[in-house]
Structure formats: C-alpha cells, structure tokens
Amino acid sequence: MVKNLSIGVLGIQGDVSEHVISMRNAFDKTKKANGEVFIVKYKEEIDDIDALIFPGGESSTISNILYKSGLFETIIDRIKDNSLPIIGTCAGCILLAKKIVGKTNDDLKLLNAMDIEVERNAFGRQKFSFERNININGFTKPYYAVFIRAPRIIKTSGNCEILAKIDKKIIMARQDKFLALSFHPELTRDTRIHEFFINMIV
C-alpha cells in the first residue's frame, strides 16, 4: 500500500515556498508515497507531521526564532524519539549539526541531530557563490547544485555517511533519517534529492 506522508517546511525565514513546490513536485514524480506539504510555524503543528524540511536562509535568524517560539524544544523532543526525519539545506545543514567551527555567534543554538561539524560561509562571500555539477553517491547522473554563501561539513563521525564532496570538501551527508546539504536543491527543477528524502522516510 502506498503511504501517505505529511511533510512540513519550517516557515520561520528563508526560501520556504521554494521547498514546498520542490517537495510537491517530488511527490508527483515518485510512486513510493503520496504526500501533502505545508508550511509549519507553530509548536502544535510539529505533532502532525511525518518529516520536516529546514530551508535555506540565515541560520542565526532561524535559530533565534526557533528558540524563542518554543519550537526548538518540540523539535528536539522528536529528534530524540527518532520520530522526525529532517532534511536541512544550507542554513538547515548548520542547524542539524552538533558543532560550528570557526567564527560564530554565541547565540546560535543547534539541534545536534547529526554527528557533523560545520563551517559557515566556507566558500566565501556572495561573489564566490557558485553552481556546478556534483556527483552524489547512489545517483546515476550528476546533480547540478547551487551553492549560496554555502557552509561545508568539516567532519563527520558515528554512523554518518558522506554522500557528496567537491574538492575534498563534504557537501552532503546522511545519518539515520537526517539529511544535510550545503546547497539548494529547491532552487532548481531537479527533484531527485527531495525524492531521495521521500525514499529515506517511507
């Protein structure tokens, strides 16, 4: 039987609507599950979802509001239960980490969902933002990825699996039902990463 999934996109700040569209398109393509995708902003809404998307945006802003709204605790509880798969892109990748390396804002509270250490703006300022093909483990064709003031994963540990690198820099990793990416699959039409996430959680 085909599963029915409810996927929330964290609607605090960032490119939220882009993820809603990409995820809906991914559901249209995959035969693995049906799903509805909506924006979540409040604690109560977290109880109703099967998985969560952390969009791109400013990690310090998202972390700040997450914490003040009480959403942070609610999400942490479900992470500890292992009952809430999460995909984090760019800012979302930072929030999934257990540690930030380098210059950092003391207020930035992390969800500590994955055994990864990240560096913010690891490729430089906006004028060094770039797009290029990358190879992702398990993908038969290259993936065209968009990096905007992107972070990178400096180090992984535990059962965290590295899925993609460019020039020895880790840009995508998976651990259990968490998926962290330096780049923005929601900015292109290629829905393979959103489909990959659906496959991870069904």
Binding site: N105, R125, F130, E131, V146, I148, R149
Partner: protein, 334 residues
C-alpha cells in the same frame, strides 16, 4: 576558492543572485554604522545588515551630497559579523558599485537615499557578479529595475522619516497594478510595456535630441525593441507564472515599530529593511529583536502585541507634507 574544476563552475549568474535574495525572505535587514551596531543586529536575528556611514535620518538632517560609505567602515562591519553585509551606491554610479563588488559586499543597494549620480541611467546590474536591490514606487519602476538585472526590489517608502505612509503607498501601488496586469490581454500588456519603456526614451531624447525607433540604442548596448520586449516578457511572466513580482520584494522607508513591519508583510512584502528605525530609537536592542519577531510572526496579533510592549520611544517621526519640495528621497530615480 575552488582549486580544481574551475572551468565547470559558474559564478555571478542570475540564479545565484536571485537565490541570494530568496534566502533573505521573511527577514529584517538593518542599517548599521559600526561593528557594535552590526553585532546588535546579528544577535537580534537580522538576516543581513546594511553598512552605512550615516542612517537616512542623519543624511536627511545633514543635507549635502550623500555618497557610498567609506570602505573602511564597510570592511569593519564585514569583518565583525557572519550574516551578509549590504552597502549602498548612488543611482547610476557603477564605479562605486564595482568598488563595493571588489570589497566583497554581498548585495549592493542602488539607493535613492544617496544623492543620485547619473541623471539618465541606473546601473546595468547584469554586468555584476554580486546581486543588487533597487527601490521602486510603482510597478513600472520595479519592472525597469528587474529588467536591468536587480535581484531584489524594495518599495521605497520615504527613508529617514519613521513614517509608514509612503511605504504602504508604494506597496499598494505595486500590488494593485500586479492584480491589474493579471486581467490584461496581450495587446494591453504590449501597450503597458511600451509605456514602461518611455523613461529610457526620455533619457536618450534629452541626450541626442533625436527621435527614437526600434533600432535606437536606449540603454547600454540594448535597442528600444530589446528593452520593450524584455519589459513585456517580465509583465507576461507576472501575469502567467508568478502573480507577483518575479524577484523578492522587501518593504523599506519608514518602518519604525513591530506593527509597521507586520503591516508591510500583511500587504505582501517578503521582508523589511529598517533604516533609522532601530538605532534612532531609544532602545535599539529590544526594538531590533521585536521587529525580527514581528516579521517572523506577522500574522499573529498576540505576538505583535507582546513584542510591542515597553519598547520605549520610537524614532521621532516626520510628516511627509512638512518635508520641503525637492527633498523627498523617493522622487530620485525613475
């Protein structure tokens, strides 16, 4: 930055520039004049800071020619925060813009708050690797700036006044016209594209005194025909694809309170710029935090009420009618 495979990667594309702007959605960009203020902005949850020598209220009070900020001030701010740093150039001043690009600012604001540099042309923003944000009062200005390569539009409002009326006026002008465009047929869209191309023609007529035909160059290397078609394409996209501006649209110019920020979001803005409103108030830290929360929760009146409590005095406001003729920032640019 990337040592190998240099040939395979692209930088400075429209996708990267518009993508950067999308990452700012739902956020507050705050004007700051030093690293201490930048730190306050970052801690309060700003998505970016605008590095300036003086906030708009002081530029207005001081008078004289307002130019790009001292790069040393901008650099100090860039070195002090993790969030993106934007900075302003005068309208049409592409040399200031190249200087800021080389400095590494993350977004350039071609801003009416500074004294315009070019009486005829705005910057050809496609030539830059860094994204631009530009002001507008109506859909025509917005569409021209988008055609010139702006990755983000902000409604102008009237900067440095702490008075929201112009910000609301400009957002309603843009939104109302977008609705109207949705109901237009193809010939009406072409007619509107022609109307919106007029101001380029006015510039070239003033310069050469000649009448313009389809093949006349009217902006950089672009002919009248190319400009008109480009503008038509944007209008057609607004009608058929987006039902909104095709780039991120922030509000600016007069936002002083959490409710000001919330009303701009409720009117369809993707985020807000707060200029003088924070550091000209008597409790910048708390006000900055409150405005960030108001933008994140703009449709929750309980939160707006809560964060608005005990903020102290907002910046002193200015009535638009009391501003002498010719001193309105919003009338700069076309």
């Amino acid at each position: 930055m990337i040592e190998s495979d240099e040939s395979k990667l692209k930088i400075g594309t429209a996708l990267l520039k518009k993508g950067f702007a999308k990452m700012q959605k739902g956020g507050v960009v705050m004007d700051v004049t030093n690293s201490e203020q930048a730190g306050i902005a970052e801690d309060s949850g700003a998505v970016a800071v605008m590095a300036l020598e003086r906030v708009p209220a002081d530029i207005r009070a001081d008078g004289g020619v307002a130019r790009m900020a001292d790069p040393a001030v901008i650099q100090e701010i860039m070195d002090s925060v993790n969030i993106p740093v934007m900075a302003k150039v005068r309208i049409g001043h592409f040399a200031e813009a190249y200087a800021l690009e080389s400095l590494g600012v993350d977004m350039i604001d071609e801003s009416e708050v500074l004294t315009p540099a070019d009486p005829f042309y705005h910057v050809d923003k496609r030539k830059f690797k860094v994204p631009f944000v530009c002001g507008c009062r109506n859909l025509g200005e917005a569409v021209r700036r988008i055609w010139e390569g702006a990755a983000m539009i902000r409604t102008k409002g009237e900067a440095g006044t702490g008075n929201i009326i112009e910000a609301i006026r400009h957002q309603r002008m843009v939104q109302g016209m977008i609705k109207k465009v949705g109901d237009m047929d193809n010939s009406e869209l072409h007619k509107l594209a022609k109307e919106y191309s007029e101001s380029y023609i006015n510039s070239i007529k003033t310069i050469t005194g000649e009448t313009v035909n389809d093949d006349t160059l009217i902006f950089e290397e672009y002919t009248y025909k190319v400009v008109k078609n480009g503008i038509y394409k944007i209008l057609d996209d607004i009608k058929r694809v987006h039902q909104r501006l095709p780039v991120v649209n922030f509000a600016a110019g007069g936002i002083a309170t959490p409710s000001d920020a919330a009303i701009m979001m409720l009117l369809g803005s993707d985020g807000v710029f707060v200029g003088s409103g924070i550091f000209k108030s008597n409790n910048p830290k708390e006000r900055a935090k409150a405005i960030v929360e108001a933008v994140a929760n703009y449709n929750d009146p309980e939160i707006i009420a809560k964060v608005s409590k005990n903020l102290g005095d907002a910046m002193p406001g200015l009535e638009i009618e009391k501003i002498p003729q010719g001193e309105l920032f919003q009338e700069r640019g076309w």
